[in-house]
């Protein structure tokens, strides 16, 4: 039967067939660049055939791209060391004349900086409990351990950290420096919660006085007005003298008359509802008057002379739930650096995140400011979480960046000499191509370069990439709603997952340290073990962290002979 001219019934099939054939041919056209625009391979059979299998990624184009802009963040480490030395020689560790406390000026009560507390006699070595976290920890093979590359004499800085954690007598302060990956207290909120569960401590640690992102941070409520915030990444836009006021936190805020900030503690994580100490950090170049209102009740004012040094107001109260500060006079010369919320003991973790930063932003901070703050709040550990802002999909060589990481470690050690340094490897990240969402394999290379840098400096290292891989990698993080759709940034839920792994690593480190310490002591001398009441830092009954000394060794006199017999 002849086809009617208006009958298009078979046309659909014809069009579909021809389209399919043309698309099949197109599938074999490799990716091309036309007029500077990169065109991907358009493969209709990408589900069946991986066109890239076996193809080596071209490195030629990448070689022409700069790996890292070193010049923009130039730093002379000798100069840094000199500045720090000058600062620590002249700055009063007690904070006299630079500090004020809720009760009065510190020279009346020289416990001001925690310098005194930190340098107090450490607990006697034999009071380190044998830590056993087997109830919490998964088996060793499932833990991503902290790798230590310390080759010096005596205990490594990480060991000193574990010792302090286990002794539980004084503050353990952690500066968690990072990029947008942890912005808004992501990851650190949960790491802090877990660490405070096990080793005590209250409060969110360091927070900026004003920044555009305070609203994003869930772990403390910040309402600020009258401030002009400046970011260290935009140094060109920061007028003098404020450009010289940066702490490694990367934010300062310049006051206008009446500038104020109010902080309210939240219940977003355990141990945050209240804290026992607040430290306000600022520079007052002119005479200034600051008022502080505590828990919506009592209000006091503090006066300061004009000076370039970092000042602090320390408020210690049994329960601090809200605090309001207001610059009443001297706003012009007033640069707020930040505020810290913590307790007089236990763990305190500062989230010091700077978005778009690959770590080098720290070189723009003022070493003297860093050193002064370190005299007030001595850091025991500096974590460096960087790398996302340097990683490129096809690049495997990060030697220049690794050099900069080494420089960062040395910079941190200059400013915070007592702190252990832990380099976190870059996180996992995925990309989109014709196969859909695939892992960005350069994360493996960058991780290796970061590890090498840590090794060269004798710092510690933790493999973030591996920790994420164990949970299925970034694609799974997005599927689980633990990460954003850019397949790069995690959210709070994702932060919790990684924080738990890092927490395990710390517990494992502390446990191993206590075992090694015990073995060492037992080899050297017989010890009489009595129940070590009061020294177990783990008072929280809800967490089953038991001191096995209580159970197995309470009535036993252990000496080396007996050990040998066993």
């Amino acid at each position: 039967m002849p086809k009617r001219p208006n009958d298009y019934t078979s046309r659909g099939w014809q069009v579909a067939c021809t389209t399919l054939l043309v698309l099949l041919v197109i599938s074999f056209i490799p990716p091309i660049t036309l007029g500077g625009v990169e065109l991907r391979r358009a493969s209709i059979i990408s589900d069946l055939i991986d066109h890239n299998a076996g193809e080596e990624a071209s490195q030629t184009q990448l070689a022409e791209l700069p790996e890292i802009d070193v010049k923009e963040f130039e730093v002379d480490l000798i100069e840094v060391a000199q500045k720090v030395a000058e600062t620590t020689a002249t700055a009063s560790p007690m904070g006299e004349a630079t500090s004020a406390s809720w009760e009065g000026i510190f020279d009346e009560q020289p416990s001001g900086g925690d310098y005194a507390a930190n340098n107090a006699q450490m607990p006697a070595m034999d009071s380190i409990p044998l830590a056993d976290y087997s109830d919490i920890l998964p088996t060793d093979s499932l833990i991503i351990s902290i790798e230590e590359f310390y080759e010096g004499e005596g205990d490594s800085p990480m060991s000193q950290l574990y010792e302090k954690l286990l002794a539980g007598k004084s503050n353990v302060r952690v500066a968690f420096m990072g990029d947008s990956f942890v912005e808004g207290d992501i990851l650190t909120a949960d790491l802090r919660e877990l660490m405070q569960d096990s080793f005590h401590g209250l409060g969110v640690g360091f927070v900026p006085v004003a920044s555009p992102f305070t609203g994003f941070r869930q772990t403390i409520k910040t309402q600020s007005s009258g401030w002009t915030p400046y970011n260290i990444m935009q140094l060109k836009n920061v007028p003098a003298p404020y450009s010289n006021d940066f702490f490694v936190s990367g934010w300062v805020a310049q006051a206008s008359e009446g500038a104020s900030t109010r902080w309210d503690m939240t219940e977003r994580r355990r141990h945050l509802q209240e804290c026992r100490r607040v430290r306000l950090l600022f520079i007052s170049r002119e005479e200034s008057v600051v008022s502080i209102k505590l828990n919506d009740g009592e209000e006091r004012t503090f006066s300061f002379d004009g000076d370039e040094v970092v000042r602090q107001i320390v408020i210690e109260e049994p329960s601090i739930r809200s605090l309001e500060m207001k610059v009443i006079r001297g706003a012009k010369g007033f640069t707020a650096i930040g505020a810290e919320f913590d307790d007089k003991q236990g763990v305190s973790i500062d989230n010091l995140s700077i978005r778009s930063n690959n770590g080098q932003a720290m070189f723009r901070s003022n070493p003297s400011v860093n050193a002064q703050i370190n005299t007030m709040r001595q850091y025991d550990l500096v974590v460096m979480q960087y790398g996302l802002n340097i990683m490129q999909a096809e690049r495997t060589n990060y030697s220049l960046y690794a050099e900069q990481v080494e420089k960062m470690i040395r910079y941190v050690r200059s400013c915070f000499p007592e702190a252990a340094v832990l380099v976190m490897g870059v996180s996992d990240r995925s990309q989109k191509n014709e196969q859909g969402i695939t892992p960005m394999l350069s994360a493996i290379d960058l991780t290796e370069w970061q590890r090498t840098a840590a090794r060269n400096c004798g710092a510690a290292f933790w493999n973030t990439y591996e920790a994420m891989q164990r949970k299925g990698g970034m694609k799974e993080f997005v599927n689980q709603n633990w990460a954003g759709k850019d397949y790069t940034h995690i959210n709070y839920a994702g932060g919790r997952e990684i924080a738990r792994e890092l927490y395990y690593a710390f517990l494992q480190g502390a446990q191993n340290y206590s075992r090694a310490w015990r073995e060492k002591v037992e080899r050297q001398q017989p010890i009489i073990t009595e129940p070590l009441e009061g020294i177990n830092p783990l008072h929280n009954d809800s967490i089953t962290l038991e001191n096995p000394l209580r159970d197995s060794l309470t009535h036993t006199v252990v000496n080396t002979e007996q050990n040998a017999a066993q």
Binding site: Y8, V15, A16, G54, G184
Partner: protein, 501 residues
């Protein structure tokens, strides 16, 4: 160099064709094009053998459904059996009105019971747990069969129309199964009424030039809307704003909401455009489902243009069943509200959809009230002068966008944060940087809204041109669109851009 053995390839093909809830068969996939070529070649061979062709389409449709929902294709068969039998029982009840009523109630109970169980059980458990304390009831692991909301509504339209005497029951069960399972509309609509579809089932198969042109036009437009605009802007812009709104300025949040308005329109209408287009190529006409809804100057007009097959279904089978406007003014408003709240709930089992429905219900009721009070008020933009129309359009668009904010936001906190950012932290200074940083996103948003606001005549002229073009032109258009889709699919993810420092 591609190095792949025949066995590996075969295994991979088998794997691709198997049931995979994570990989439903969607029109904008390469696999669908392969299957469609295979399917349509046999379909053509069977064009003169109606019953065999119907059976063949049913089998393909069942496979189509199996690919995403596995064994649950039996639900489809079950509904087709029960409602087919109930349809006949209603007619054979003669004048026994009570029996008829009981039978139609049974059909509604079966359909809604199934929908309720699969879609709303955990939602109700969640509500009970919130009322009576956590752990009051355990959540159930219930699989949500794809498209259940659509085919259940379609099937109800059949029995209710028989009950109302508007259609006669079908003689053959396979015809009913064909209607219910016809793959183009099976998983995402449009909700095709029995009375619109049944007359087409056994009509001689014939695709006219106009049908073909419209069909290809719909497929191309649908691909551009769904696989280019919607997929790109959601992944690279909209999702991240809704995920962490506090990280973005008010301007970005507002663009996120306007972007989402475009995204959901392009996603939903684009997919149903493809369904309509494919059905046309197979010789079947579906009713229009979207009619440039954001051109509306009143909320009443919006609901005549947005998801028409659903809104008219709700009007005919829910609103009118509740009494419509026949039981006094207050009842009319209440009926509107109930209809829209349930309509909201139809979109998903969560409070946010209820709130979205409630917002639209209240807006529709207020507009009805306004029409009653104000003599010069109009139902739609076409009746207004240009100033009123523009004002009405601006107001309606923003009310609809407020609705989308409720619809999309995970929780009320997100809603609050986004509104706070818009009203307190707008930061219009970043607009130039925004345009610079999100070039592709901005271009696609402009393209999407531009296409949307084109006069309807241009649309139909283009379709005519496509229909009349030579085979090679038609292929070229499809290939170019498919190539763009694949470029978008494999394009880099736009990194997060931070404008605020």
């Amino acid at each position: 160099m591609i190095d792949i053995s025949f066995d590996t390839l075969l295994a991979r093909v088998q794997e691709l064709l198997q049931y995979d809830p994570q990989a439903p068969l969607i029109f904008n996939s390469g696999l669908f094009l392969f299957l469609f070529v295979g399917f349509s070649s046999i379909y053509l061979l069977l064009r003169r053998t109606t019953t065999l062709r119907i059976l063949y389409v049913i089998l393909f449709s069942i496979y189509f459904y199996y690919k995403s929902s596995g064994i649950y294709f039996l639900l489809l068969v079950f509904v087709a059996v029960t409602d087919f039998l109930i349809g006949h029982a209603i007619v054979s009840s003669g004048k026994d009105k009570r029996r008829k009523k009981r039978l139609v109630a049974l059909s509604v109970a079966i359909n809604l019971g199934m929908l309720g169980y699969f879609k709303y059980t955990n939602f109700l458990i969640d509500i009970s747990n919130q009322l009576f304390g956590a752990g009051f009831l355990d959540f159930q692991n219930i699989f949500l069969p794809v498209g259940i909301s659509f085919f259940v509504f379609q099937s109800m339209s059949y029995t209710i129309d028989i009950y109302r005497g508007e259609i006669k029951p079908l003689e053959r069960w396979i015809d009913y199964m064909f209607y219910l399972s016809f793959f183009p509309q099976l998983v995402a609509g449009p909700i095709v009424r029995a009375r619109d579809f049944i007359p087409q089932i056994r009509r001689p198969l014939m695709v006219t030039e106009r049908m073909f042109g419209t069909g290809i036009g719909f497929i191309i437009i649908g691909l551009v809307k769904k696989a280019i605009i919607s997929d790109y802007i959601s992944l690279n812009f909209v999702d991240r704003i809704f995920d962490e709104p506090a990280l973005y300025s008010g301007f970005e949040c507002l663009m996120g909401i306007y972007g989402y308005a475009l995204q959901i329109y392009c996603d939903f209408s684009g997919y149903s455009d493809m369904a309509i287009g494919i059905a046309l190529l197979l010789g079947f006409r579906f009713p229009k489902n979207f009619d440039a809804p954001y051109k509306s100057a009143t909320i009443t007009e919006f609901w005549r243009r947005w998801h028409i097959s659903l809104s008219s279904w709700l009007r005919d089978y829910l609103y009118i069943s509740l009494g419509g406007n026949r039981k006094g003014t207050l009842r009319t408003y209440l009926n509107l509200l109930i209809t829209m709240v349930l309509g909201g709930l139809w979109h998903g089992a969560a409070i946010r959809f209820v709130l979205w429905g409630a917002l639209h219900g209240v807006a529709l009721a207020l507009h009805k009230m306004w029409l009653a009070i104000c003599p010069w008020a109009k139902k739609s933009g076409e009746e207004m002068n240009i100033v009123l129309r523009l004002g009405g359009w601006l107001f309606t668009f923003n009310v609809v966008c407020l609705g989308w904010l409720l619809f999309r936001a995970e929780d009320m906190q997100t809603v609050e944060v986004m509104l706070y950012q818009i009203f307190h932290n707008f930061n219009s200074g970043i607009i130039p940087q925004f345009v610079e940083g999100y070039k592709a996103v901005v271009a696609l948003i402009v393209l999407g809204y531009g296409m949307h606001f084109l006069p309807a005549k241009i649309d139909s002229d283009l379709q005519k041109k496509v229909g009349g073009a030579s085979l090679w032109w038609q292929v070229a258009l499809l290939v170019i669109t498919a190539w763009c889709v694949m470029q978008i699919k494999s394009s880099d993810i736009q990194p997060f851009i931070y404008f605020q420092f």
